[in-house]
Symmetry: C2
Subunit: 148 residues, 2 copies
Amino acid sequence: MFKKILYPTDFSECAQAAIPYIKTMKKAGTKELVILHVIDIRQSTIIDTTAFGETFIYPYDISDILKKEAESQMKTLIKQFSRIFHVTPLIVEGIPFKEIIHAAKLHKVSCIVMSSHGKSNIEEMLLGSVTEKVVRKSPVPCLVIKRA
Amino acid sequence: MFKKILYPTDFSECAQAAIPYIKTMKKAGTKELVILHVIDIRQSTIIDTTAFGETFIYPYDISDILKKEAESQMKTLIKQFSRIFHVTPLIVEGIPFKEIIHAAKLHKVSCIVMSSHGKSNIEEMLLGSVTEKVVRKSPVPCLVIKRA
């Protein structure tokens, strides 16, 4: 019932709130953990207006930088979980909520465990937009961990 | 972490989908279960236009009927769970999502487990309105079980 968990994370402090809950799920039968980080393609290009003396707009692809950063953060997570679960780490590029639903189906997970908010933790928002879309569209149960 | 669970239910088939998951949570440390049924005060009065030969509009309070029906359904649920958990059954009148949040705080539960849809299971709606509001406003983690 909770055998294989998908943990989508943007590595933010909010996203980390789910970690102790995931560890506790072991007792409820969790054996496998898919950790997913999605590099948002809408944010992987920055516009550098200074590159040519502010005359030209120069789109600058930072996806390689983001990927390296993600790999380093993922390593830390793998260390935390690999003693407890069989871990499958995934770093993909795309639209976060779409990739999360896609991964849930592709890897046939039994449950998604995620925090209510990610990096863009706007106080007024009671539920982050990615989490809201995932809960709506998920084919499997979702455990939403609220921010402190 | 999952010691005391709140299970809000309208006794519908969709709401029952959460039951096996709640039972599994025992292994994750769940000891107490608060089962909550909210009689929606907005639906506890029906308008009977036939009472006086269709001349008068006669508001008819059915909350006593609904309460009796709820008590009977609650008994069935208590039987299912009382061998596994310490069960606190609650039947209250009010606006469902507000009473659910109120009960979560009052009974200091550690988690809410509920189905994505209730009685008004509209196929087009990816998430029921009560569940959506509960996930937004809950002070504790929410496990949302999707309809089959």
